[in-house]
């Protein structure tokens, strides 16, 4: 079986800092895969490599079978990306943003309306409002709609729920779960442990390295919370580093 996302030894350095250090994992078709880690762990760097915004220093990766270095043009047609920072046009209205992103990919809003309907219907009453005047939760729904409007095969969501209220966050995860029926593979990052449980599988990432990959249930130590497990893993990793030194 071909994996929609296949990462093999991906490394990225910024000068002396190694942001990603030999990261490898695969994500299966239609899977909701979570990338869990603190700020500065390398989550955004991984997203920027996979969405062809940067080139890796070492290693390789494929998205839907296309190489991120050589086949970047194909990848840009089939992925949806929602950056961590709200980056839609704030001075365009809700529907203008949606139309804009649909036609950037050569389509119309109608073509894939079924896909975004459950999400977009919630902000449709405000479709003439400027995107910059929306609340945090509504901005995030619009950004997700815009990332989905060209029916991508793989969706990259970089900390989509940061700065959003608890209710909107929960709704957002319901929406992601709803996308499973369309066979869209989703890679989502979050710093919140409570959200990790909503993913099918998670990878714990710290300091540019993957510590563990498994289902949220299996990854958690018996009798501990996921957060405690994560902290234990980080401490173990640090101790290992100290011995090496």
């Amino acid at each position: 079986m071909q994996y929609p996302i296949k990462i093999d030894g991906l490394t990225k350095r910024y000068g002396a800092l190694t942001a990603l250090d030999g990261v490898s994992f695969e994500v299966g078709k239609g899977e909701l895969f979570g990338l869990i880690g603190p700020d500065g762990a390398g989550k955004t760097t991984l997203f920027r490599l996979l969405t062809t915004l940067m080139k890796p220093d070492e290693g390789s990766a494929t998205v839907d079978g296309f190489d991120i270095v050589n086949d970047y043009k194909e990848i840009r047609n089939i992925v949806g990306y929602m950056p961590g920072r709200f980056s839609l046009y704030q001075d365009l209205s809700v529907e203008e943003n949606l139309e804009f992103f649909a036609s950037l990919f050569g389509g119309t809003v109608k073509d894939n309306y079924d896909l975004i309907e459950p999400i977009y219907s919630q902000i449709e009453p405000f479709k003439t409002r400027r995107a910059g005047k929306l609340s945090g939760g509504m901005k995030q729904k619009l950004a997700l709609s815009c990332a989905l409007i060209h029916r991508p095969k793989v969706l990259f969501l970089d900390e989509p729920t940061t700065g959003v209220d608890a209710v909107s966050r929960s709704e957002f995860w319901d929406m992601l779960a709803g996308l499973k029926q369309y066979g869209i593979t989703i890679l989502v990052s979050t710093p919140y442990m409570d959200e990790a449980g909503r993913c099918e599988r998670i990878a714990l990432i710290n300091d540019g390295k993957i510590l563990k990959i498994d289902t949220p249930g299996a990854i958690t130590d018996p009798g501990m919370t996921l957060e405690d497990t994560f902290i234990r893993l980080i401490q173990e990793e640090n101790a290992k580093d100290d011995i090496c030194k």
Partner: protein
């Protein structure tokens, strides 16, 4: 083409919603054309003259009153002798000294004595133009005096006739240059600001992960401002005609074609600078430097011919040099496209060169 249309519609919507920009692009040409020609004038007025009159005859009195009446010269004082006048000049209170020798009045009947003019050359323009004005005033005065006494008028007077700008109206000379300045400012800054804003706000990331072609994206940054600049050009030309009575001596199409090429050049330079920088500050600083170089070196204010040779060579590598020469030739002399074909070819070449560079320097992957 569909994508380009989408991108341009987006640019126009954003521009119209901006609370500041639409007003700016109308106010800017109004300000420049209504105010600048009065300031950027080479006419030297208010030249202070001191007279050392050793003669004290009715003739010397006539000269004094003629200078007093002059529009350009201002009589600042009468001095008993040259040294006291020189002291005033050294203090910077007067720019010119006119010395009328004793017995000058009487000598007018036969061979006139020589009058002397001393000029302060610190402000070279004021000094040389001032002494010229003074000489012309004196010559006219002498001719009148001799004529009134039935004497022959000396023929030695030099007469200068200015073609193309007969009244030596510097406003007419400066207006084509001011129009070019406007095109440089609006056409250079607006696309640069727009593009670097997309970088700062992060919106460009969404474009970068989409299949949008870099040429389409670059054109979407050039075309809207190209239209805005042409509108501004129209405003300027109508105002120049209404306010200063300056009509285009040549064909309006010759100006439009040149402007169309020139805006493309200047906007592409703006886009290139925005592509090369990460922040608004970097872009603005680079842009200011380039624009200042353009304005000072392109012959806008000082003729290229009077620059040192190395600077002349440099000036001919700069696109505005061709535009400045062309605009003045078409506006004032009525030159045609075929007269100025070299300028059009140069501008066209620069437009293609910088246009392609603008697209190439846009990197979707950092």
């Amino acid at each position: 083409m569909g994508v380009l249309r989408t991108l341009i519609i987006k640019e126009i919507r954003q521009f119209r919603r901006n609370p500041f920009m639409p007003k700016l692009v109308v106010m800017f040409p109004l300000m420049l054309i209504l105010v600048m020609p009065w300031i950027a004038t080479m006419d030297v007025k208010g030249i202070n003259v001191g007279i050392a009159d050793y003669d004290r005859s009715d003739i010397s009195q006539k000269i004094v009153s003629r200078i007093d009446a002059s529009e350009y010269l201002e009589l600042k004082g009468m001095f008993a002798d040259y040294p006291s006048a020189l002291a005033e000049l050294e203090d910077g209170k007067i720019d010119l000294i006119l010395e009328i020798p004793a017995g000058f009045g009487k000598s007018m009947m036969g061979t006139p004595e020589k009058v002397s003019i001393w000029a302060n050359g610190v402000n070279a323009m004021k000094g040389s133009l001032g002494s010229q004005y003074l000489m012309q005033t004196l010559l006219k005065c002498f001719q009148d005096i001799r004529a009134s006494r039935g004497l022959s008028i000396p023929e030695s007077t030099i007469e200068t006739v200015n073609f193309y700008n007969p009244t030596m109206d510097y406003k007419h000379y400066m207006i084509p240059a001011i129009i070019i300045m406007l095109l440089v400012m609006v056409g250079g800054f607006l696309p640069a600001i727009n593009l670097v804003m997309e970088k700062e706000l992060g919106t460009i990331e969404q474009i970068n992960v989409s299949p949008v072609n870099r040429f389409a994206f670059t054109l979407s940054k050039l075309i809207p401002f190209w239209i805005i600049c042409l509108i501004d050009l129209g405003i300027c030309m109508v105002l120049a005609w209404l306010v200063y009575g300056l009509d285009v001596a040549g064909s309006i199409w010759a100006i439009l074609l040149a402007a169309a090429l020139f805006i493309m050049v200047i906007s592409s330079i703006g886009v290139i600078l925005a592509n090369l920088s990460e922040t608004m500050q970097q872009t603005m600083f680079l842009m200011l430097f380039i624009i200042l170089t353009f304005i000072l070196m392109s012959g806008l204010y000082t003729p290229v011919e009077s620059m040192p040779l190395w600077a002349q060579k440099l000036a001919f590598c700069l696109p505005p040099t061709y535009m400045v020469e062309l605009m003045r030739a078409v506006y004032l002399k009525g030159a045609t496209i075929s007269d100025l074909w070299i300028n059009y070819v140069a501008l066209g070449g620069f437009a293609v060169l910088f246009g392609v560079l603008a697209a190439i320097t846009y990197k979707k992957r950092g």
